[in-house]
Subunit: 288 residues, 2 copies
Amino acid sequence: MTDIPKNHPRYESLMAREKIVSGVERGLTSRQGLTAQGRGEAFDYLLGEKTIPSAYHAETVAVCLLLLAEKPVISVNGNAAALVPKELVKLAELTGSVLEVNLFHRTPERVSKIVAELKKYGASCVLGENAEPLLNLDHERAKVERNGIFSADVVFVPLEDGDRCKALAEMEKLVVTVDLNPLSRTAQTAHVSIVDNLTRAIQNMIDLVPDLVLLSESELWDFVEQYDNKMILADALEEMKEHLTEKQNELMGIESPKEPTPEEIEEMEKRAEKRKNLMMRGADLMME
Amino acid sequence: MTDIPKNHPRYESLMAREKIVSGVERGLTSRQGLTAQGRGEAFDYLLGEKTIPSAYHAETVAVCLLLLAEKPVISVNGNAAALVPKELVKLAELTGSVLEVNLFHRTPERVSKIVAELKKYGASCVLGENAEPLLNLDHERAKVERNGIFSADVVFVPLEDGDRCKALAEMEKLVVTVDLNPLSRTAQTAHVSIVDNLTRAIQNMIDLVPDLVLLSESELWDFVEQYDNKMILADALEEMKEHLTEKQNELMGIESPKEPTPEEIEEMEKRAEKRKNLMMRGADLMME
């Protein structure tokens, strides 16, 4: 890997890119995975490369669903395997989830390499090598394991393709994804769309488990029932717009944004109220 | 190349991606070029995958500068060579510019392959194989040809790295770039930053030549003098924000945006006026 100084302002982002390049070199990640990483970088930049509050909320609900599920499955693709193999194994262990390798550009070699990579990090069982064409999609894209994703009640499919996410959501499953583009078909068809960098998202989810695992089922369901995915996506778009406005002001040498109009203040208050309601439970939990 | 149906809603974008993958396979493009393409895709998506009026204006000024220059040079990197080799040769021919292969991840093999690729499309002379470390940068990044980019008065460097764009702008050169990220250091340090997809930008520039070539030098200079790069960048950010708002409204099921406030109307009129001034000459020209 290229040597990147730890104090580089974009260290995390550059390290992630290097991990994907290394994933391609090791045969874990497809070349198309590099393009996907680039798209992610652009959207993450627009979010200020941080976990926004609404994404943290989605991450909380995602963990609740994994804990509530009868048969939770975590899907692992080539980019996820290159970026966060250790964390995926850890999250599966903490939430009692099954790991399944699930590739868009599927080859038996890549599946086996990713299975081996996850086992290297301590996974005892990884599905994916016995996948059958069970989804309502063309042959290669349709492959999942009968005892894995096919029969799951909750699937966590970070960085998933739009068509495949839709096919899963149309089955009787709750679909959780991680996608930095709130406008992607994946983000728009999943039930819980985490608009965050996968590396940050998965670490947040791991950190959330010890607190959430103490709650009762009905308390976990409260989180899920309060959740509104459309609002979470709209909030991510709002954050991106705010970031663009900030940058625009910097560019034009405007020190502070103009005074908001009464309508804008009302709008801001409405948003703050909505956010407060959504975050309240999460915040309470974090304060304990 | 993967077979993509022509009626696919994102045909152009997918074809461009395939061209970059093919460029990597043929040794023209670096792997990092795939990530860069992905970043571009994200920003292009935010622009609605179309040439916005301010970008068209920047393209007009770019062609004026190439026509006015004593020694215009068009720099070609691995992504540009994969995406628009024929068009680069055509633009060089129409504007009397010199072509120079100029790589961030430079290897002699890649330089030679790109030289050969451009010659395949009819270029009679392509510089780059005799580059020396002449820029104020570390050794490999500093390489340009003494009779090419080093002595140019106008350089067209689409998809350039931030440091290298800055090094060129600090020399006595007018620097024109194409960059879909209006916030990149490249876009912010070049004199003319075309915020557009390279494939669209280069075609627009080729189409502009026959009209602009008929103008006098002083008419061409008028275009250049009226040009404000900061305004062009701010306008691109504005377009992205408008696009995000549109998508946000779609998501939330809001049919039409709320009535603008008087302040917003005033702001919109100011922007329209500024745009009108800038576009007037271009529009006149197009109507002829």
